[in-house]
């Protein structure tokens, strides 16, 4: 199978790669671009840890064909911090003990960012809905929900 040239914007930077037809976005990001922040969990959309934003919308990168993002804007956890500072969501996750093993954290943060970008002051139910595609084994979700609500309410120590 011949390689397909592919260009898109990755965390504010234009990238150009060659992918095999059928390559998924997760593999393209991790293996071809070297952005290891989206994680491989189940490879079939059941766990959410590979979540990234495509033009601001939450997508499971393991189920997204790389060639479908040509010319689009991809955001991953790698691009979340603001210069040397953590993003308020990252700060809130740390302050609220919202990670233990950390494997779900990249997906949780991207799902939370997708929510807050379009709804800056969500209700608790809206937060629960927003992360309902993401599985967490360690935290029992409560600290994650509280962290997202804290970030939304500006209750985060800088």
């Amino acid at each position: 199978m011949s390689k397909i040239p592919l260009q898109f914007r990755h965390n504010g930077r234009d990238v150009a790669i060659f992918v095999d037809g059928g390559t998924n976005l997760l593999v393209a990001l991790r293996e071809l671009i070297g952005d290891m922040t989206p994680k491989f969990g189940c490879g079939q959309g059941g766990c959410g840890t590979c979540s990234v934003l495509v033009d601001g919308e939450l997508h499971l990168s393991c189920l997204t064909l790389a060639e479908t993002v040509a010319g689009r804007t991809i955001e991953t956890l790698d691009g979340m911090k603001q210069g040397p500072n953590l993003h308020p969501l990252q700060r809130a996750f740390a302050d609220n003990f919202a990670a233990q093993c950390g494997y779900c954290t990249p997906g949780m943060l991207m799902a939370a960012k997708a929510l807050l970008d379009r709804n800056p002051s969500p209700s608790r139910d809206e937060v629960v809905e927003a992360i309902s595609g993401n599985i967490c084994r360690c935290t029992g979700y409560e600290p994650i929900i509280n962290a997202i609500l804290a970030a939304a309410g500006g209750r985060v120590s800088a």
Binding site: C42, C101, V128, E129, C138, T139, G140, Y141, I144
Partner: protein, 340 residues
Amino acid sequence: MTRHRGRGMASINYPIGMNLGGDPSQALVHSNPSGKFTVALSSIDLGQGMKSVTRQICAETLGVPVEDVYVDTADSDTGPHCMGSFASRGTHRVGNAVMAAAREARGVMMEAAAEELEVNAADLETDGRGNIHVKGAPHRSISTKDVAIAAQFKQGKTISGRGIFLVPLSNVDPETGEMSPTTCYAHACLVAEVEIDDETGEVAMVRMDSAYELGRALNPRLVEQQLVGGAWMGVSHALYETPEPYYPDPVHGPRDFVEYLMPGPGDICPHDIAVLERPAPDGPFGAKGPGEMCANPVLPAVANAIFNAVGVRIDDLPITPEKVLRAIKAQGGARPQARR
């Protein structure tokens, strides 16, 4: 269709550590010429907070700020032997080993400081902020950094310590069957409230209330995190997950997270937790271990709550909607028990 609510409780005694040929862990502590300390362990932190807790234990024992301690874990090539992170043994076993190693290192540090200040080491104390001074005379002081430099470049001493904590094997008495498998027990009680749909057999968690007695909580936020998250692992074992749904027949085992079910964010319920601190005599600063016990009382409490709600006793896990429904049918309908 009717929804039935029920409440169940369970209490547990939880042994810390295990009894398979003795239960040892080792730690090594040494200072760097900068006056910072490194703890070498091969114990693994998989998110439960082992690095944070051993760092606190080491800093407290040495009498230095927690920022001055670095914990290097999980490399069995460079760290001394550890049995592993399981059986809720990390804080208790590894913590005790770190404490012993830090105590030995502190002894050398105080001797080196005594030589620099020209006093007796017994007359010195640490201020917890990186200085060592003569008791009652804070101006006769030297920083741990200067002590480390003096030890390294002038005195030719290593400020270091070795620690091991071993709970020896307890053999079974062949006559009575008696043994002492562990030295330290934690305790918990949990009340679970569930709601059951008698048409689908689905069990929803309504709330949990619990009390945990786990020795001294060395890091209360980490303890809380463990108890909150671990309770949901318990719920998951009680209601959702199994590798062998028709055990012992291995068919229809789950192959992925779509079939191996776990609670999602929409399944959780309020959980009020009371932490009771009764320091353990043989624990580091009185700590036991909040590890696995956070999941354990949930399973029997949920099974009891299901009985209370619809009158069926289900004794194999997980308690799936199918099992609840079959049991309700077998007894000719839901029989709610007296509300407790």
